[in-house]
């Protein structure tokens, strides 16, 4: 597998997983860089493109969670953190999207990672459980509580969000 091609193919995914968990652009790029350097060292052990994708999601999530745990006291105010530029979309409210990203950043780190893998990567609870080394039941429970929390906070700040 060509390493440079893998970097170009997966850089947005790895960076975005890191960014949506740590909510700091510079740190997310550092984390993403470390993930790819580790991929380069481990590439010979990976057997297929699917294995690479699984490995990248797993490594990026774990590194981002570790970063959040180590840097809890130096947390940047989420409203002040500069946001990466996402592809233009004519759907949805950009302010709502920004508010949601901010609220996701207030979740506990494990719940944050689960929400990111579920809604950024469209992974099932079973797949998320494998990546994060958690029981499936725990993943579902975290997801349920995180959505309830987000819905509650969002409805308080922006009015009712239709169910």
């Amino acid at each position: 597998m060509d390493f440079a091609a893998l970097v170009r193919q997966h850089q947005a995914m790895v960076f975005s997983v890191a960014y949506h968990i740590v909510h700091d652009r510079a740190s997310a790029e550092d984390i993403a860089q470390e993930v790819f350097l580790q991929l380069h060292r481990s590439l010979a052990k990976l057997e297929s493109p699917e294995h690479v994708l699984y490995w990248l999601r797993r490594t990026a999530s774990h590194r981002a969670i570790d970063y959040v745990r180590k840097n809890a006291s130096t947390h940047v105010a989420l409203d002040e953190a500069p946001e990466p530029v996402a592809p233009e979309s004519h759907e949805g409210d950009p302010m709502l999207a920004k508010r949601l990203r901010t609220l996701v950043g207030t979740l506990p780190e494990k719940s944050r990672a689960i929400v990111v893998l579920r809604y950024q990567e469209d992974m099932s609870p079973d797949e998320i459980a494998g990546v994060l080394d958690l029981p499936v039941g725990t993943v579902k429970s975290h997801l349920h509580r995180a959505l309830a929390m987000l819905r509650d906070k969002l409805s308080r700040t922006l009015g009712e969000v239709s169910a």
């Binding site: 170009r8 947005a12 990466p84 996402a86 759907e91 959505l147 987000l150």
Partner: protein
């Protein structure tokens, strides 16, 4: 809840890192580590032979120095023993000389008295 999930998918869409991100990663991968640099220095045969020669010389030189030091020590001890023997011998000779002088003096007195 479905509406919230749709909004989350929109909010958490993938975004690109800096435009030069891939180039920076590839540049880092190309950089040798400190260990790689050390290994590369030892890699050419001439370097390996030179290091082996230095090691052999160091070991051989050390052994030769030690041998010479021990020979010098043995020489010093032998010299010390000879000097001691000479001192003892010299002392004994002085004692004998004294006795001879005394006897000579006695005989001279007896001869003069006759």
């Amino acid at each position: 809840m479905k509406h919230l999930e749709d909004e989350l998918r929109r909010a958490l869409r993938r975004a690109d890192p800096s435009p030069d991100f891939a180039a920076r990663v590839l540049a880092k991968v190309g950089e040798p580590t400190a260990w790689d640099k050390l290994r590369a220095w030892f890699a050419p045969p001439i370097t390996r032979w030179a290091m082996a020669a230095v090691l052999v010389a160091a070991v051989g030189g050390g052994a030769a120095y030690e041998h010479e030091r021990r020979e010098r020590e043995r020489g010093e001890m032998a010299k010390e023993q000879v000097m001691t023997a000479l001192r003892i011998a010299g002392a004994k000779v002085r004692v004998v000389q004294q006795k001879v002088n005394e006897i000579g003096a006695q005989e001279a007195e007896e001869t003069n008295g006759l």
